[in-house]
């Protein structure tokens, strides 16, 4: 149990007592320290120190709150404002570590003449004199210092840093001004002080607050280690130079404070071109969202489908009229195109023992057009050869082959080998072309696969409705089997894009569309249905051209600006 011993009568008092219970003398820290000097028994001294440390957290907090409030207890008169500030700052450590109860003692001693001892009264009087003298010089220095700040605002930050550094140096250079009570603590700690000094204060982590105090006194630790509420960021910003700082010292009622005035500057805005474009797009989107729009009226949509139905019925009616009314049309002799003539020549010159491959590569929807195009060539083929091979690269190719060959009324003696279905045209062509050079004979493949002639085909006829699929066949076969004649029977939509392959010589001949088939029919005098359909076809083409012209002149698509103008 810690006891306070009265320096006057030696009576043991309660630690919280401010006056001696026996003689009424004030229990000041000076007397206690003197008493502890006489009693070097470590146990009591350490107990007192422990008691003092229990009050230190509040003391440290007061230190942070008070900032740089100091007084000049016994130093010399400062020659200038800076010197005064430095000297005051150098001694402020003493007041920072003084407990509240001691401050209260001092305050009461200064107010009540009989409440303090003679020595304390003298000390207080001396301190007041010094403070008054210092305040006058500080006022003068403060005014000039403010003027310097206004004149040299740009260099104020560096000056402040230099001033702070000089303060730190001053603190280190004034070991003689260490409070007496701190020296007493050092003596009590004895040789352990040197050992503790070797260790960084921050490594202790608060285990020994006393050690921190000692480091603080030696300049190793700073008061900044205890964060000030609300001022942390300012200090960091000051260190990082993100803010321009000006410093001024204010003397207010014997209290010198160093205030840092931070002038917040907006960081420079760097916008890249891409960010600017995105920002513009966002602005445009926002503006567009707020823009007025014209709602499409239901009646307008109704008129559209009515018009569409009207023109469709007009087309169907005119075509039907051309089909079922009037006299049978006359054949019109048209000159054959070179590619058509080349195909007919190849078909007419084919050898009876030739191996012919028919590739069915069109969809069921184009069966009617192919039924009009192909018969003129296929008839001459099936009438000459005794055996043909068919292959389909469309899903319904097998059925379409049966239907087309059924139309031709082929002889029963004709042998038809079906190679089956090849899902991908390029794979089928590649495999078919390399079949000739295959070295992996498989015994249990379908019989028709084994019927592929070892020397390849004497001619290949591709019936296709797609330029891409037909091109795949031509690309592969023309490279892998360049000696094999390749001929094309195409729908009108596939013809234009495959014509270059005939001009380059990769394709022997080709027929494309019902118009070329009609010319062949006229020249060969074949009996097909083209002549009966030709007038309907011409009528339909004419009607479609009229409809497109009507659409071009009267159904002009309205732009958004037109819609906005109409709405306004």
């Amino acid at each position: 149990m810690t006891k306070l011993i009265c320096p006057e009568c030696g009576t043991e008092n309660d630690p919280s007592a401010e006056r001696c219970s026996e003689c009424g003398a004030p229990l000041t820290i000076e007397k206690l320290i003197e008493n502890s000097k006489g009693d070097e028994t470590g146990g009591d001294a350490l107990d007192r120190l422990s008691a003092a440390e229990t009050d230190l957290p509040g003391l440290l907090h007061a230190l942070k709150q008070d900032g740089d409030v100091t007084d000049e207890p016994g130093g010399g008169e400062p020659s200038s404002m800076d010197d005064a500030s430095l000297s005051v700052s150098a001694d402020k450590e003493e007041d920072k570590v003084l407990p509240d109860w001691l401050n209260r003692i001092r305050q009461r001693a200064s107010e009540e003449a009989d409440s303090a001892g003679e020595i304390i009264q003298k000390l207080s009087a001396a301190q007041e004199n010094l403070a008054q003298e210092g305040s006058e010089s500080k006022h003068e220095g403060f005014t000039s210092w403010i003027q310097n700040i206004q004149e040299e605002a740009s260099s104020s930050a560096s000056e402040n840093r230099a001033a702070e550094e000089s303060v730190s140096d001053e603190n280190r250079k004034k070991p003689d001004e260490i409070p007496e009570w701190l020296n007493t603590i050092r003596k009590i700690r004895g040789t352990a002080q040197d050992d503790l000094k070797k260790e960084p204060s921050h490594d202790l982590g608060g285990d020994s607050l006393l050690q921190w105090l000692m480091d603080l006194e030696d300049g190793k630790a700073t008061s900044e280690e205890i964060p000030k509420p609300g001022l942390d960021n300012l200090d960091d910003a000051y260190e990082e130079g993100e803010e321009s700082a000006a410093s001024e010292q204010v003397f207010d009622g014997g209290v010198t404070q160093e205030l840092r005035i931070f002038k917040q500057e907006a960081p420079p805005l760097i916008v890249t071109r891409e960010e600017q474009a995105q920002a513009d797009q966002l602005d445009a989107t926002i503006v567009d969202e707020g823009a007025s729009r014209v709602l499409q009226k239901p009646g307008k949509r109704t008129s559209k489908w009515v018009m569409r139905l009207f023109f469709a019925l007009l087309l169907i009616g005119s075509v039907s009229l051309a089909l079922f009314a009037g006299n049978s049309p006359q054949r019109q002799d048209k000159p054959l195109k070179p590619q058509n003539q080349a195909l007919l020549t190849w078909a007419s010159e084919i050898s009876p023992n030739a191996a012919i491959l028919l590739v069915f590569d069109y969809q069921a929807g184009y069966a009617q057009e192919m039924k009009l195009i192909a018969p003129s060539v296929l008839k001459s083929l099936v009438n000459k050869v005794t055996e043909i091979t068919i292959l389909s690269s469309s899903v319904s190719g097998k059925l379409l082959a049966q239907r087309l060959l059924g139309v031709l009324e082929v002889e029963e003696a004709l042998i038809i080998n079906d190679l089956g279905y090849f899902p991908a045209a390029s794979y089928g062509a590649y495999g078919l072309a390399n079949r000739d050079h295959g070295t992996w004979p498989l015994a249990h493949l379908p019989e028709v696969v084994q019927e592929i002639p070892a020397d390849g085909f004497d001619g290949i006829l591709i019936l296709s409705d797609s330029d891409e699929s037909a091109r795949s066949w031509v690309e592969q076969l023309s490279v892998l089997t360049p000696e094999t004649p390749i001929n094309l029977l195409l729908t009108a939509q596939a013809g234009p894009l495959l014509l270059p392959y005939w001009e380059s010589g990769q394709v022997t001949g080709m027929i494309s569309g019902i118009s070329e088939a009609a010319a062949i029919e006229a020249s060969e005098a074949c009996e097909t249905n083209i002549s009966s359909l030709w007038r309907a076809y011409q009528t339909g083409i004419l009607m479609l051209m009229i409809f497109m012209l009507i659409g071009a002149f009267f159904v002009v698509e309205r732009t958004p600006s037109d819609e906005g103008r109409r709405a306004s």
């Binding site: 097998k398 279905y421 592969q476 729908t491 380059s504 990769q506 359909l533």
Partner: protein, 232 residues
């Protein structure tokens, strides 16, 4: 006309009318017809693949072939198995193996065909058009051949220039590229004309094919109605 022809003829006419009903907009009849066609196509495709590919070209050799022949079918069988396992989320990565094989093979075949089957022969054809040995002795035909070859060359170069998007970096400003050379811009404009003509020809062909299909449907419906009225 027997009952079978009558029924199937009626079904054909009904489906044709249902598809043509799209003229008044998307409706239930059109959707029913489309679903019927898609379903029939899918079902037919499954049967076709089983009967024409899986059974004759995979299962039969595996069952009836010798051991040396069966070995050859281990690879496709393994690929099929991996592709099926890829449908299970846990083994999804396994399905990438046959897909990678297919993609690589397709790319190899397609690139080989495009280069050796289209690019080189077509370039050679453009060059050969200027070969005087290809022209006959007739002056008029020779002039026509020269004109034809010149148009072909201009069209080829113009079309290729239109799809040239390369630009040099502006040395003064890294953010901006320089404009393409004037020669490419001029040839690109010419190429636009050729591209427009080509697309117009394709569109006309598509129009023609569609008109033939419409005429065929009208003929079928007319014949059906005629047979109904005529009773024969």
């Amino acid at each position: 006309m027997n009952v079978s022809e009558l029924i199937w003829g009626a079904v054909g006419v009904l489906l044709t009318v249902m598809v043509l009903s799209y003229l008044i907009g998307d409706n239930v009849l059109f959707q029913i017809a489309v679903h019927i066609f898609i379903g029939l196509t899918g079902g037919y495709l499954v049967v076709l693949i089983i009967n024409h590919i899986l059974l004759p070209q995979l299962m039969t050799p595996l069952i009836a072939g010798s051991w040396s022949e069966k070995v050859w079918f281990i690879a496709p069988l393994l690929m099929i198995t991996l592709l099926l396992l890829g449908q299970i989320p846990r083994f999804k990565s396994l399905g990438n193996i046959p897909l990678a094989y297919l993609v690589g093979l397709t790319a190899a075949i397609a690139i080989g065909g495009a280069v050796f089957g289209t690019l080189i022969p077509q370039s050679r054809a453009v060059i050969a058009a200027f070969d005087p040995s290809q022209w006959d002795g007739n002056t008029e035909n020779s002039l026509f051949s020269i004109l034809d070859a010149s148009i072909m060359l201009i069209g080829t170069v113009g079309t290729l220039s239109y799809f040239h998007f390369g630009r040099k970096r502006n040395p003064k400003n890294d953010q901006e590229a320089t404009q393409p050379p004037m020669i490419f811009k001029a040839l690109g404009k010419i190429g636009q004309v050729f591209i427009g003509i080509t697309l117009g020809a394709v569109f006309a062909g598509l129009f023609s094919t569609s008109l033939v299909a419409l005429i065929d449907r009208i003929v079928v419906i007319g014949q059906f109605i005629g047979q109904l009225i005529g009773g024969g």
